[in-house]
């Protein structure tokens, strides 16, 4: 960038432009997203720098892309080039160093079965157990003569265990980083996610029952019965809640919500598309209800814009913001 501008650049602005470039790369994994979020929350100045970055984006968003590209990419006339040569100082310094792009090893890459963002997948295992993987999910299948283990590396899985006709019963468990969920002849789902930098797991039991053993707990397993949900971390078990029918809607390709905050809705929706879906704080507390087909996120956003005082701004295909209309 131009040398005379360097003294106007703060470290926060450099970091914001660096994060912007990483978002645009489309390769932000969960870990990177968390790092970005904690950077953003760490300092008021980071917030301001990020908003400044968004202002630049809004600027570029005002012009139709193809037209702007053709105009701004046209080579300068000979006259302009000659004039520019007269310019007092035109030192271009390299920007390398601002941008510390790291390719992080991705644990899920090694998983046996994966789904991409926005993809779902159903499969039947050798014993007849059926798995339904939700968006952006990775599982390892580890069956042995004594155990049946599905390791949930990332995402959400619905399990319908099969009754094995064998003499020695092999317990069926879903293992997560935070602990183990053992099935007792059932249909249940396990989802892992992060909330306020905490790794959590939610178990929802639709039929039968399961036992939950958080990794760091020596206490007796917690039993979760049919029509119940339980959230736990490696060290803690939270209160059981009644199962909501809407928890299972994703299996049918639907997101069903009732009076959900728009910000939470945006967070839920962003599981199903890569890139950043942001909700302006001014509209974060609006509530939304409805049943939305997950295979058409743009249509969902359009519906939101039609029913709430919200406008949907798409800056790039990795960037969508919900802001006051």
């Amino acid at each position: 960038m131009r040398s005379e501008l360097l003294n106007q650049v703060t470290p926060a602005m450099q970091q914001a432009s660096d994060w912007y470039a990483r978002w645009l790369s489309g390769e932000m994994d969960e870990q990177a997203k968390l790092a970005w979020q904690s950077w953003l929350d760490a300092d008021e100045e980071h917030h301001r720098a990020w908003q400044q970055m968004e202002r630049v984006q809004q600027y570029f968003n005002k012009v139709p892309g193809a037209l702007a590209l053709a105009t701004l990419q046209a080579p300068p006339s000979a006259e302009r080039r000659r004039l520019l040569k007269h310019m007092i100082l035109l030192l271009a310094v390299s920007g390398s160093g601002y941008y510390a792009y790291r390719e992080q090893p991705w644990r899920g890459m090694l998983a046996d079965i994966r789904t991409q963002v926005g993809e779902q997948r159903k499969l039947t295992l050798e014993d007849g157990t059926r798995l339904h993987l939700n968006t952006d999910t990775a599982v390892n299948i580890v069956y042995s003569p004594t155990d049946r283990i599905v390791e949930l590396v990332r995402g959400e899985v619905m399990v319908e265990t099969a009754h094995e006709n064998v003499r020695i019963y092999r317990p069926f468990s879903v293992v997560t980083q935070q602990g183990m969920v053992t099935a007792l002849g059932t249909k249940f789902s396990v989802r892992e996610w992060q909330q306020q930098q905490r790794d959590l797991v939610k178990v929802s039991v639709f039929e039968g029952m399961v036992d939950v053993r958080p990794k760091g707990s020596q206490a007796r397993p917690v039993r979760v019965n049919a029509r119940e949900s339980l959230v736990f971390s490696a060290s803690q078990v939270f209160a059981k809640t009644a199962l909501k029918n809407t928890d299972m809607a994703w299996v049918n390709g639907l997101l069903v919500v009732y009076a959900m905050r728009l910000q939470d809705f945006a967070a839920e929706l962003s599981r199903y598309q890569s890139g950043l879906l942001r909700c302006d704080p001014a509209v974060a507390d609006l509530h939304i209800s409805g049943s939305f087909p997950l295979n058409d996120i743009p249509a969902i956003l359009q519906t939101i814009a039609q029913t709430l005082p919200v406008k949907v701004q798409r800056y790039t295909r990795f960037w969508t913001t919900l802001s006051p209309a």
Binding site: M1, R2, L5, Q8, V9, M13, Q14, A16, S17, D18, Y20, A21, R22, L24, S25, G26, A49, Q52, M53, R55, V56, Q57, Y59, F60, K62, V63, G65, A66, L67, A68, L69, A70, T71, L72, Q73, A74, P76, S77, E79, R80, R82, L83, L84, H86, M87, I88, L90, A92, S94, G95, S96, Y98, Y99, Y101, Y315, T316, R317, F318
Partner: protein, 169 residues
Amino acid sequence: MSRPLSVPQGLIGLLYQEHHAWLRAWINKRLGCPNWAADLTQDTFVNVLLKADLPVLHEPRAYLTRIAHGLMVDHVRRRDLERAYLDALANMTSDDIGSPESRALMLELLVRLDILLDGLPAKTRTAFLLAQLEGASYQQIATRLGVSTRTVGSYVATAMLQCMALLQA
């Protein structure tokens, strides 16, 4: 209420009398167009007249030529962009080219965007525009520019940083 002019009218008059003809010749030599040179000379003096605080001018001609140069660059930029914009419109398949007012607004916006990108190396500028306006992937941009995806990321970050710095200025 009018803004107080800190530059005394007499001083501007003196500046004008002494340097007007010389400045017009200076500009004309660079642009090769007497009419345009006359306009730009007037613009330069208007610019000086509107300055809130005119510095003590030890080198009045250096001062005037710096302002004139800035105006020339702006004019040529605007003219280049207008040509490129009209070319782009002509190549559009759509019949909807908007009203003259909306086209003028669009051109104004494009001028401002061009100013934000001013002075960036060509590849940096291209990488940023492709990513931001076309949503091209880093891989596509890397292939097109013959650089690594990592370098594309660095280009994009640099261009954004300059835009942020200029937009806040």
